[in-house]
Amino acid sequence: MKIRRLLPHPFFSFSLLVVWLMLVNKVTPGNVLLGAILGIIVPMLTAPYWPGQPKIKKPVKVVEYVLIVLWDIVMANFEVAAIILFKRNKDIKSGWVCVPLEITAPEAITILAGTITMTPGTVSSMLSADGKSILVHYLHDDRAEAIRDGIKHRYERRLKEIFP
């Protein structure tokens, strides 16, 4: 019980500890201790600004998702680079596509939008006023639907599992 109140979000506190260690860039007992303390205090200070912080269900899925995204980023970078460097402007067919969303957790939506943007070739440009769809701009493609389905299948599905 006490632990619960002290650590409402252990995953969060732990990641702060990691961030702290990143900052000091040196793993020593002192730093770990200090980091741990900060990992407890800072969330307390900032808790009011993050009401309804979601509980991460399946950390494994997170890792998987991250790896996939990283891979996509690398790959897509080359594609886009090719487009920018070798395609003549008039041949570049950019356009808009609306991706309807099923996930509702703001965190999930944000991560999805972020993923869309960071995987080059697409930029998540705007949400709808009710947050139920996301407006995506693609740099060059022939089939807008393909992009939409790719996004929904490859990313949103996984996010739904992480943020049920």
Binding site: F12, L16, V19, W20, L23, V24, T28, P29, G30, L33, L38, V42, P43, L45, T46, P48, Y49, W50, P51, G52, Q53, L101, T104, A105, P106, E107, I109, T110, A113, G114, L127, A129, D130, G131, K132
Partner: protein, 960 residues
């Protein structure tokens, strides 16, 4: 030399007395008058007690040190001349006090009057008793001031105010000139002591500074004594109540100039310059005054010009520079006092009884007010210089003197002109007698006249008796005239005053004057018509014109330069700075360049180009305000990069974070300001500004280049050496900030704190002022975006906030040893909060704000201050630091330093100040009708967000 410490008391008595009447007025007019008479009387008695000694030829002196550095001492001395004048001042003062009691009406503030009168009396007394010319100057200026008050006594009358200002201007100007003259005199002699100066006459006259000194001093005397061409103020001073005119303008103030010439005689007189300046001025004044007097219908104006004329006479006599002339002058001073004071009072009585002073409306008063008529007639005849009255004797002596005077090898011009003057004085005197008292009784007087109560004619009557007595028995006045004249000439004089000198030229001249005078009066009607048609300069018009001209030219000058045109102020400032900076550089040599320059890798060129380009963009497009802000932030970025490259990491951190906060502030302000700057300045002005700007830029660049290419050994070697072992930190910059020069930092955070306060106070004032309405009526652009708190932004911020806080803590803790420190940490945290504010809006975030910003600044400043004060406990000076190391195994050693506590103060102050500024700004926004949000984001698609949100209440709008 006899001890005269009593003199100081005599001189101060009137001033002490002056305090009383103002207070006493409630006790009634009699009490008031009495309390004025007492000090005067007392002073007079004390003076008379000294008189015998003075008559024996002794000189009483006393000295009280005042300002030895300057040579100013409260020194007084009493000799014959002083006695004569002091006696007159106090004696007539008494008579005037009595006269005024009955003259002034009950609704005149009599307390004020007597206060002013005593002030003036004291000032005059001071002049004639001073033995230090600086002291004399003080009293001299005091007479100008007190007479200003007396002349302007009837302040509701424009004539009074204007007359007073004119008198002050003219006599004040003279006084200032005299200051110059006196200081020169003092420098020639090496002492400001009058007796020393009078003893050094030859030295003075030999000095090349003699002429300037003479002229400056005479300017003082002439203006005071209304000598041509400064005579014009006197008639206008007649706006004063008659007692004032009788006192100032017959007996005392106007005689101050004469007194001064007499006083300085041994030091200044006897040279050609003296003769031609003084005698000529006097002669002209005498004639001119007499002529004008004949054509004045106002009794007091007539008397005023007659006074001018008689002052001219006295001046002329002193100008002659002979013993006999001096004797004549001294004697005439007494005589003029007696008849002129009486005449003024008579005029006052007539005015008082008939409610007019216009001769044309008078006449025939002899039957209605015989006593007044007798007094007036006798004194007027004395003024005309008729035998056997005292005026006759001194006038004879004067004419006699003129006969011995040659002016530019011309023996007759002076006597002729003198006689001419005499003719006119006979004429106006007789006019006074015949046109006022003579003729048949009229029925159209504004008021039915009859003799006044005794109190009102007592004083003139007494004077009239003197007129007659001195006339018949002049030898009575001999001893006084003797000592006075001796004092003036600084040598033994033997006046031989008698009424009948036999049939001599002077007598014939008088006779001629009498006949011609009568004839002139007979022709008066015709002459007056000619006079009126004759074009002549109207002094007052000229004076006013000059005043007006100087005022308008001053306004033109000032309005042309101090007209609130900021850009010109700054342009002048910059250009001036460049010019004298260049002059300073050019007039000194520069040591040879010693440093060899560092290489410039391409990336630096790029950064440099970035700065140049961004600067050009900001300047060329400053009309597009938002855009120029974007360009501005490039400069900040490049400079931060430059700081990193040039080994100043702390600067880079500070620069970049400060720059960001500044941009945010500017954006917040720009929200209310116009988004565009109109093109207002002409192409010419733009070129001018451009030129100035380039000049400034080149100058600064050259200056920088000048030292960048030269070495100098600085004190910072010490800081590097002692930073660790003395300050316990390896980041020398930080140690300097919190330790070596912690006092600077202390001041710096106080500046921030005040900035926060000022901004808060200003906002508060604005929202209560007219600005509030303008804000309320403010319309929002209809096409602005509808999403205020986008989901994505909110979520990311929530993740960033804790991380940013860690960064802040990290930067703070390591500041003492690595780049960072309290200030940057404070900015980082505030930027983190700013992110939160931007994401979820002010109200929502504010509700979650625990610490209040005022308090935060307060604690910051206090903590920093108390850390410094803490050192006192250890008996060390303010801000002395201490540091050490703690060991908790297994954790490695942990350093502590009081400097870090100080840095904590810095941190809090910075955080508080920045947040308070933003708070104040967004307060305006909400005042401007901006709706406040209760939700952290526009819309949260997930359901559970609602419940966990503890912000279901109404948001606070006025947090602080």
């Amino acid at each position: 030399m006899t001890d005269g410490s009593i003199l100081a008391f005599i001189a101060i008595l009137p001033f002490l007395g002056a305090l009383v009447p103002g207070v006493m007025i409630r006790a009634g007019r009699n009490a008031c008058a009495t309390f004025t008479a007492v000090p005067t009387l007392l002073a007079l008695l004390l003076l008379l007690i000294q008189a015998p000694a003075v008559m024996r030829g002794e000189v009483l002196t006393t000295t009280i040190e005042w300002l030895p550095q300057l040579g100013l001492s409260a020194s007084f001395f009493l000799d014959g001349l002083g006695l004569l004048f002091a006696g007159m001042i106090l004696g007539v003062g008494l008579l005037i006090t009595l006269y005024a009691r009955f003259y002034l009406s009950s609704d005149d503030p009599m307390g004020q009057f007597y206060t002013y009168l005593l002030l003036f009396q004291g000032a005059m007394l001071g002049i004639v008793l001073s033995d230090n010319i600086l002291l004399l100057l003080i009293f001299w200026e005091l007479t100008s001031l007190s007479s200003f008050l007396l002349i302007g006594y009837w302040k509701h009358l424009p004539e009074g105010r204007q007359g007073a200002r004119m008198a002050l201007t003219v006599t004040g100007a003279g006084g200032l000139a005299m200051i110059g003259g006196m200081l020169i005199l003092g420098n020639i002699v090496g002492s400001y002591n009058l007796t020393d100066i009078l003893a050094q006459g030859d030295v003075i006259k030999a000095s090349e500074w003699y002429l300037p000194a003479l002229i400056l001093i005479l300017l003082g005397a002439f203006t005071k004594s209304a000598q041509f061409p400064f005579h014009f103020w006197l008639p206008h001073a007649m706006a004063a109540p008659t007692p004032v005119s009788a006192y100032l303008h017959s007996a005392t103030m106007v005689k101050a100039g004469v007194f001064l010439m007499a006083r300085m005689w041994p030091a200044l007189a006897g040279t050609d310059a003296w003769f031609y300046i003084v005698a000529t001025t006097g002669l002209i004044t005498m004639v001119l005054g007499a002529v004008i007097a004949l054509f004045k219908d106002d009794l007091k104006a007539l008397l005023a010009f007659s006074t001018v004329s008689h002052l001219g006479l006295l001046t002329m006599l002193l100008g002659f520079g002979t013993k006999a002339a001096a004797i004549a002058a001294m004697f005439h001073i007494i005589n003029h006092l007696t008849f002129k004071a009486a005449l003024f009072m008579t005029a006052g009585i007539i005015d008082h009884e008939t409610h007019t002073r216009d001769i044309k409306r008078l006449g025939g008063l002899a039957k209605l007010m015989p006593i007044t008529a007798t007094i007036g007639a006798i004194t007027a005849l004395s003024m005309a210089g008729l035998i056997p009255l005292n005026g006759f004797i001194s006038k004879e002596m004067m004419l006699e003197e003129t006969l011995h005077t040659t002016w530019y090898h011309n023996p007759w011009i002076v006597p002729v002109l003198a006689t001419l003057g005499a003719c006119f004085s006979v004429a106006y005197s007789f006019r006074f007698v015949f046109h006022v008292f003579g003729g048949k009784v009229r029925d159209d007087y504004p008021a039915t006249p009859h003799d006044p109560p005794f109190g009102l004619y007592a004083s003139p009557a007494l004077l009239t008796i003197l007129v007659v007595v001195i006339g018949l028995m002049p030898h009575l006045a001999e001893p006084l005239v003797k000592v006075a004249a001796s004092a003036v000439t600084g040598a033994e004089t033997k006046p031989y005053l008698k009424i009948w000198h036999g049939f001599n030229t002077a007598l014939y001249m008088s006779a001629l004057a009498f006949v011609v005078g009568i004839f002139l009066l007979y022709l008066h009607g015709g002459l007056a018509r000619i006079w009126d048609r004759m074009p002549r300069p109207e002094a007052k018009a000229i004076f006013d014109a000059i005043m007006q001209a100087s005022v308008s030219s001053a306004r033109w000058l000032i309005a042309g330069t101090h007209n609130g045109v900021m850009s010109r102020y700054l342009a002048v400032f910059v250009s001036f700075t460049v010019v004298i900076g260049y002059h300073a550089y050019a007039t000194g040599g520069a040591a040879p360049a010693t440093r060899e320059m560092l290489p410039v890798p391409p990336i630096v060129w790029i950064g440099w180009f970035g700065v140049l380009a961004a600067t050009w963009l900001v300047v060329s497009q400053h009309h597009r305000r938002f855009r120029s802000l974007i360009y501005l932030s490039i400069i900040g970025l490049m400079i931060s990069g430059g700081f990193v490259y040039l080994s100043a990491p702390d600067l880079a951190l500070t620069q970049i974070s400060v720059e960001t906060v500044t941009i945010l502030l500017l954006l917040l302000a720009l929200y209310f300001l116009p988004k565009e700057t109109p093109v207002e300045s002409s192409a010419g002005k733009r070129w001018r500004d451009g030129a100035i700007a380039v000049a400034g830029g080149v100058a600064v660049a050259a200056l920088a280049m000048a030292f960048l290419t030269r070495d100098v050994d600085t004190i910072s070697a010490y800081h590097l050496a002692n930073s660790y072992k003395g300050g316990g930190g390896t980041n020398v910059v930080n140690v300097i900030l919190v330790d070596f020069r912690g006092y600077d930092t202390y001041g710096e955070i106080i500046v921030l704190g005040i900035a926060g306060l000022t901004i808060y106070a200003l906002m508060d004032a604005l929202l209560r002022g007219p600005a509030a309405k303008r804000l309320r009526d403010r319309a929002f652009s209809p096409d602005r975006s509808r999403d205020r708190h986008p989901l994505m932004m909110v979520v990311v911020t929530r993740a960033m906030l804790p991380i940013a806080m860690l960064v802040g803590v990290y930067i703070f803790l390591r500041g003492h040893n690595q780049p960072g420190g309290g200030f940057v940490a404070g900015l980082v945290i505030s930027i983190a909060f700013l992110m939160q504010y931007m994401a979820s809006g002010f109200a929502w975030t504010q509700m979650r704000q625990r610490m209040e910003y005022h308090t935060m600044i307060g604690w910051g400043v206090l903590i920093a201050g108390l850390t410094g004060v803490g050192a006192w406990l250890a008996g060390k000076p303010f801000l002395t630091s201490a540091y050490g190391y703690l060991h908790f195994p297994p954790i490695e050693e942990f350093e502590w330093a009081t400097a870090i506590v100080f840095d904590l103060g810095v941190f809090l102050a910075v955080l508080g100040a920045v947040m308070l500024m933003l708070y104040s700004l967004s307060r305006i926004a909400r005042f401007a009708g901006e709706t406040v949000n209760v939700e952290p984001m526009d819309y949260d698609p997930s359901a559970e967000a609602e419940e966990n949100d503890d912000a279901a209440g109404q948001p606070q709008t006025e947090g602080q």
